[in-house]
Amino acid sequence: MADIFALAGQNLLSPVVLFFVLGLAAALAKSDLAIPEQVAKTIALYLMFAIGFKGGAGMAAHGLDARLVGALVSGIVLSSIIPVVAFTYLTAISRLPRVDVAAVAAHYGSISIVTFVAATEALKTLQMSSEGYMVAVAASMEAPAILVGLFLAKKAIDGDGPKNGPGQGVPFREILLNGSIVMLIGAFIIGWITGADGLAKIESFIVSPFQGVLCLFLLDMGIIAGRGLRQSGKVLTLPVVIFAMTMPVVGALIAAPFGWLVGLSAGGVALLCTLAASASYIAVPAAMRVALPEARPSIYLTLSLGVTFPFNLTVGIPLYNMIGTWVAG
């Protein structure tokens, strides 16, 4: 227990977390501090580039791991199970309309790649290594949860014609080929092909300045989370806050045995738990606006970005690292 607090404390005082807090504070104080939109989008792509390429180069260095397939299957299964758990849990403790609950469930089944990036950096600080292909696992977990979430929403809305029902017109191609995923997987493959040589060539672009760029990005996420809270903070009733702060841990606990079964390293288990624990706030909201416009963004975004993301960044990541060490250490 003391360990968790020590780790969490150390984590809390890292520049990355402090810049998130700065952004949050600036937004709550109504400062106009903001990272311009196009730059924020580019930084997000940069993070995918860097994390994907490093993952691929890691794969190239350690050879193709037989556990890759197991890890990918685990990711897909987790991304399909967790929405059901989240749906049941949130239905039980809150009175939100079913369509909102389904949308939230889809977000928690899917993943937050920035949480994944932050967890990777935290592992680096602890000098724990992890499997390079966890990047591919992350990518595999984005879409299934959306389908399950839409399926759960289906019964919620009746009487709509077939053209407009939820799940109809869901933009599969756009979800699977969204820019972040293509960048992540593309950079992963290029990193794998070019290996250590390729990494040497672009190291001073994707490795050395990485933490600094991450600080800037988390500042922006803090700002967005803060503005979201100021705008929609009223949706945060006690039950949903409890959900948003415990569901990540539930997800991580569901993921841990999968990591153990597949035989991942301690770092790998920690990352799988982090993925399971994290909730999407980029890809899934865009998909929901198309396929399930009745669900309110003020609810799902406030929970995933305003509560769960900060929870994971501060308390969650150190906890999942401990879980990883317990399970596979």
Partner: protein
């Protein structure tokens, strides 16, 4: 198709359709407009706004989910009905502001 004369240049009356719409459904909307045989449209970015859900600002949005764009389409009166109902089918479930106004153009054959 009405027509007027401004000084010496003859002008022709057309309609200007303006749709403020969420970016995630833009592709669907433009597909519908093209299917409804508009001759063209132009999309303008939007910085922010205010509506039933309160204020929003482009810089607050990580994903396209919270973004809106403005689509402008000049079209002939004869197309209005078809285009309007095509557009309406798309934006009715989503957030979207549709307005129509009169404009005059110089080259009527373009629309």
């Amino acid at each position: 198709m009405g027509c007027g004369v401004t000084g010496m240049t003859q002008t022709f009356r057309k309609k200007r359709l303006e749709i403020i719409v969420e970016e995630p459904i833009l592709n669907r909307l433009t597909d519908a407009l093209i299917a409804a045989k508009v001759t063209g449209y132009t999309i303008l970015p939007t910085l922010g706004g205010y509506g039933s859900e309160g204020q929003w600002h482009r810089e607050n949005a990580l994903s396209r989910a919270g973004q809106m764009v403005t689509l402008v389409c000049i079209l002939d009166e004869s197309r209005v009905e078809a285009v309007l109902s095509a557009a309406y089918a798309i934006v009715s479930r989503q957030v979207g502001i549709v307005t129509l106004s009169d404009v005059e153009v110089v080259r009527p054959e373009l629309f």
